[in-house]
Symmetry: C3
Subunit: 256 residues, 3 copies
């Protein structure tokens, strides 16, 4: 079971979740991914999930609890793909998963739970126990029913607005200040000629695509395909996000 939350690590919340899982079976393997996803930031969670699920062994259960709507009407989901299972509230966290994998969607039942369900901590009382049940070999059908209706999702891909001109958004800013845009390499035609490409960030232009951060001098900015093949704006040994001071609203244009 992997664990992704926005709980931070200064409280006992993550502990309660781990305890609930291990009390089902102390041999279940829990892998911390992150507990410092920005608070309530479903979009960031969604992108980050897409960065690691491919690297885990078949059958891994990914548990993601970024849940600003806890206690409200959003449903607790189990999303089954060929290789893994994702357990998450129905709030858009699974957007990137829906786009890239064949998914079956289930809604977690609560009749099998043996405790009072807190209105503010479904992570501990519903999601973690569901993950634990699957981890010890229970079938999804025993704790969930097929989900009817449409799961929440947001489309995140870059849009081509003219021939070879694209409008991009910021998907995520990472720990190093790298600005990851929503243009994925495979959205461009395979033989696109990027020699003269450029990106416009406000009034600044960056030209050409580099291979790695160290291809430019310290402090210089560059454009590259990041480790998940999204177009990324970076500054060698610096912080591109601090440098460009991007707001959510600023649009980026890429052309070649």
């Amino acid at each position: 079971i992997t664990l992704l939350t926005d709980f931070g690590t200064e409280d006992g919340y993550v502990g309660a979740i781990k305890g609930r899982i291990l009390s089902k079976d102390p041999d279940i393997k829990i892998v911390d991914i992150s507990h410092t996803i920005p608070k309530y930031d479903v979009r960031s969670a969604s992108f980050n999930i897409s960065n690691f699920v491919d690297y885990f062994p078949k059958g891994t259960i990914h548990l993601s609890i970024i849940d600003p709507g806890v206690g409200g009407k959003r449903k607790p989901l189990i999303i089954k793909t060929d290789n893994f299972v994702l357990i998450t509230p129905d709030n858009g966290t699974a957007s990137f998963i829906f786009e890239s994998y064949r998914c079956e969607i289930f809604k977690i039942k609560t009749d099998w739970l043996k405790w009072v369900i807190s209105d503010t901590f479904h992570g501990r009382d519903i999601f973690a126990p569901a993950a634990a049940e699957l981890a010890i070999g229970k079938s999804i059908e025993e704790i969930a029913v097929p989900f009817e209706g449409e799961a929440l999702t947001f489309v995140a891909k870059a849009k081509m607005i003219q021939n070879n001109k694209w409008e991009l958004n910021v998907l995520h800013v990472d720990h190093f200040g790298n600005i990851i845009t929503n243009l994925k390499k495979n959205q461009l035609e395979k033989n696109s000629d990027l020699k003269n490409c450029r990106i416009q960030i406000g009034k600044i232009f960056l030209h050409g695509i580099k291979k790695s951060y160290s291809d430019v001098n310290k402090g210089e900015c560059l454009l590259l395909w990041g480790s998940s093949d999204y177009l990324e704006i970076a500054q060698n040994k610096g912080n591109a996000n601090a440098f460009f001071n991007l707001t959510d609203k600023k649009k980026l244009f890429f052309e070649f």
Copy 2:
């Protein structure tokens, strides 16, 4: 063994502790709870411990090293309850545990330790090794003696100052800025009528108890019973602590 410290994660300290445990037996399971308890904050540690111990399997060893008095006169304790063991310096960390569980208290001996004990890092040199010994099946009596004298504790419960009027303190502010008070649900009589209850925070009043954060609009404040049944002041998708700017000294009054 669970691990709760205020060591932060930017140094090798947590690593030294984990290494010391695993060098006793690499198969011991270590579960990180938190390493970012506010520095020296025994009160926060004490509250957080009470939030997760109930969820772990019987026999779990909880190791808590928030130890501002390291090298001084405070004693290293092992606290045994029916379901778990807590290893901690005698500095109040166990206050909530003393209040809620039947406890036997032991003082760790040091004659069985085979290395020089650093004056500044008993976590690595005393507490972690003690946890490892218990984890591989040694009895408490082999590494500790019954503790004589009184263990340090602070009483943390809310006080009723008039009929149905309570004076509260802040117990903890969590990662989301939720203000957790020291009034626990079971301190009120079971059939208390809370329909017209209100809390006074400085000059502001909050009325009624909601069930979950999403019962009010984004940015609105509310009162609810938190996931550990303490009365909690929250702001939907916001940060109640930043909103109210509470200082430690401000008193809260709850009446119904």
Copy 3:
């Protein structure tokens, strides 16, 4: 396998690394040391590694990925000592290890890797897979060749500038603000008389060496041998680094 990175925990990067390791064998034990080493800070990484390697069981594989030069010319190394293996880019991370242990150095080959190597994430694509191979019992020779040339290192020890007068640098500032200098206890002669020793920090002098933080009053500064036997400037329950506002350039002088 232990894990030390500067990746932070707000992205999916650490997850990708853990997944890559576990997909080789889900039973490999991964121990988080830290993911919040200051960005690109090879010096801090190097010091922190020296603080925990001695405490882990024989045969542990330590994986350290602080890699500002990723995609550039620096080589991926495997460093073998009698008790452990360190996998790291050749950028000085291993300086303290080179100083204290007999080391054999290897360069990781890449011909055995079955995927496209990203230019920005060798942690996921080279270093973690190498660690996983060793963890399942492969020999170093199968995935690496002896390293020719000189591995990058920086000398970090304090210098004696006059009889019993030393010039020190700051090695690391820890989570508590303790200033750890590069004077190690064993650099002084065994019978040195430190009764009248003092350290000069700008215009301030601290006299004598204490045993533990609690030997002085709250808020008072002191000098002591830290838990790894380096001379350390601390403030009881405070933050010495904030107090002295040291810059990297300020020199420290210790005499006795």
